[in-house]
């Protein structure tokens, strides 16, 4: 069963004298943890606004004499964060979208069109859900060279599409199975072709599931590091890989504020997405964890 985390929480009714004690403890626990995390985030923001000299010479909590938006511009342009951002957006949106689309049609057939091997295909795709793509990376490294796509973003994009298939087909299968079959039958009686029935009736009905699945794909691809490290070069990195190389350079150039600005450029978009779509995302996460 998927716990429905979006449901309003039921406040427990209880005698007032007990409530106070446990509420005080609750606030203490939550405040302590939240302040530490927010503090760390605030510290990153502070440093991203300092000059390199200020960072090295003033206290970590000192405010910058003058907020340096310059660091963001320099990270975006000089350190190539701008082009890494574009690369990440491309592989996360296009790779995630393609993976969900390819998986959705396969999941539909497995879930709703009875043929001889529904179960076989379902289980075949499921094997990949239990084993991380990173363990296939050694043969893949040579396969990509053999098929001539060892440069640019293409190998990574292909891998991202493939690595999403097990999770996506699994989750979407569940979604398609839960849809009522009356609409499908009515469409067939009215003479709609099977493809049209799928495209205009079943796919729109599965839309919430598709969105939730896409969001999880997007987040994990936006953040992915291992495959990017192996299949991309320094010049055409994605954001996480670009930040890694930027950090290596920072040890020599001592240009830490630029790195912190880069970290925020990578982080703030996902934090905003998560703030807006928290329910869809957490529902997908718990579903994935509980069904895995």
């Amino acid at each position: 069963m998927i716990p429905d985390v979006s449901q309003p929480k039921v406040a427990l009714a209880r005698p007032a004298r007990v409530v106070d004690g446990s509420r005080v403890v609750s606030y203490l626990v939550l405040l302590l943890f939240s302040l530490a995390s927010i503090g760390a985030f605030f510290w990153v923001v502070l440093i991203s606004l300092k000059t390199a000299v200020e960072f090295l010479t003033t206290s970590p909590w000192a405010f910058p004499a003058k907020a340096q938006l310059q660091n963001y511009i320099s990270a975006w342009e000089k350190a190539n964060i701008g082009s890494f951002f574009t690369n990440s957006a491309f592989v996360a949106i296009f790779g995630g979208g393609m993976s969900v689309l390819v998986s959705a049609i396969a999941a539909y057939v497995i879930a709703r069109v009875p043929f001889k091997y529904n179960k076989l295909f379902g289980n075949y795709f499921l094997i990949g859900y239990m084993i991380p793509e990173m363990l296939a990376v050694i043969p893949l490294y040579f396969i990509m060279q053999d098929i001539g796509v060892s440069s640019g973003l293409t190998p990574l994009l292909l891998l991202y599409i493939a690595s999403g298939v097990p999770f996506n087909t699994f989750v979407l299968r569940g979604f398609f199975e839960s849809l009522p079959s009356e609409l499908e039958e009515a469409a067939a009686v009215d003479g709609a072709s099977p493809f049209r029935t799928f495209w205009q009736i079943m796919l729109p009905l599965a839309w919430p599931g598709l969105v939730s699945t896409f969001l999880l794909n997007f987040l994990s691809l936006w953040n992915e590091f291992f495959l990017a490290l192996i299949f991309l070069r320094k010049e055409n990195a994605t954001l996480p890989l670009g930040l890694f190389y930027m950090q290596q350079r920072a040890y020599y150039t001592a240009n830490w504020p630029d790195l912190f600005a880069g970290v925020l450029i990578c982080t703030v978009p996902v934090l905003i997405v998560f703030a807006v779509l928290q329910d869809q995302i957490t529902r997908g996460m718990t579903a994935g964890a509980l069904k895995g």
Binding site: P3, L30, I138, N223, I230, T267
Partner: protein, 294 residues
């Protein structure tokens, strides 16, 4: 007739997913296992059959054995570090409090950060001179504790575990608080009427009822920690000091892409693959039982 006409969809709809998945996941995974039986090294694409000798080498390889040990230290210490804050925060979040949505967001948000960002953030936080952790420790007079956390073989691994646990805490809180909300109110009410304190209630009623979820989270955490790479790779470059923080995936990466011992690296990957596969099957069985329990 309606079913048979729909069957026309089967092949075109299955083919794209089947091809990308087979070519880029299933076949390479199978090849990893196959290559683990070859003596494949260096830059020449020659893979002479080597039998099981890579596996013999692997269990005599001190670096790999050390990384297995570290991975298990990572798993166990991480589970201990996560358990207490996760249960208390989940419990606090299910109380009648204000700003719940905000607290919840702050606790869960690290889950959507890149492991690279988490590693970089904590590497800075741990910095002996400029990092706020040691500055804070000095401020409250604990100068003895203001050590270079990542620069000491004794604390390096545990410091990385703490950073990873901070990120994964959200997953624990998500599942544990979902579990807490599903505990029937009547049970808690009845115990309160019988005079149980909140503390007793938590230990004697809530926690035992969450056992299924905790067990699941524990296995998911082990699967997660078996795959840990970026955190260690970034926070402890080149395995840290004398390999104090080597984990399985960093060792595999090094053997394959740095020293080009492809056959041996494939054997290590196969070993890890079997471990993860077994744990995943176990998770599957546990979650299936979960649906019956609740």
């Amino acid at each position: 007739m309606y079913q048979s006409s729909r069957r026309k969809l089967v092949i075109p709809f299955l083919v794209p997913a089947f091809i990308v998945y087979s070519l880029l996941m299933f076949v390479p995974l199978a090849l990893t296992v196959a290559y683990s039986l070859t003596n494949w090294q260096g830059h020449i694409p020659v893979r002479p059959f080597y039998g099981l000798r890579n596996y013999v080498l692997l269990f005599g390889d001190t670096q790999f054995l050390n990384s297995i040990r570290n991975t298990f230290v990572f798993s166990l210490s991480g589970a201990v570090i996560l358990f207490v804050p996760a249960t208390f925060i989940s419990w606090a979040l299910t109380q009648r409090i204000k700003l719940r949505a905000l607290f919840r967001y702050v606790v869960i948000a690290p889950l959507v950060l890149s492991p690279v960002v988490v590693a970089l953030l904590w590497k800075m936080l741990y910095d002996p001179q400029l990092g706020p952790i040691n500055n804070l420790l000095r401020l409250i007079g604990l100068n003895a504790l203001a050590i270079p956390w990542l620069g000491d073989t004794r604390t390096e691994l545990i410091a990385i575990v703490i950073a990873s646990a901070w990120q994964q805490l959200g997953m624990w809180v998500l599942l544990i608080s979902a579990g807490m909300e599903r505990i029937p109110k009547e049970i808690l009410e009845a115990s309160r009427v019988d005079g149980a304190t909140e503390w007793q209630l938590f230990w004697r009623v809530t926690l035992p009822l969450l056992w299924g979820i905790l067990r699941l989270l524990f296995i998911l955490w082990i699967i997660f920690s078996l795959q840990v790479f970026a955190q260690v790779f970034i926070m402890a470059p080149a395995g840290g000091f004398a390999g104090a923080a080597d984990v399985m995936v960093t060792t595999i990466y090094e053997r394959a892409f740095k020293s080009n011992q492809w056959g041996l690296a494939c054997a290590m990957a196969t070993f890890l693959l079997v471990l993860i596969f077994a744990l995943s099957l176990l998770t599957n069985r546990l979650t299936q039982r979960e649906t019956v329990e609740f």
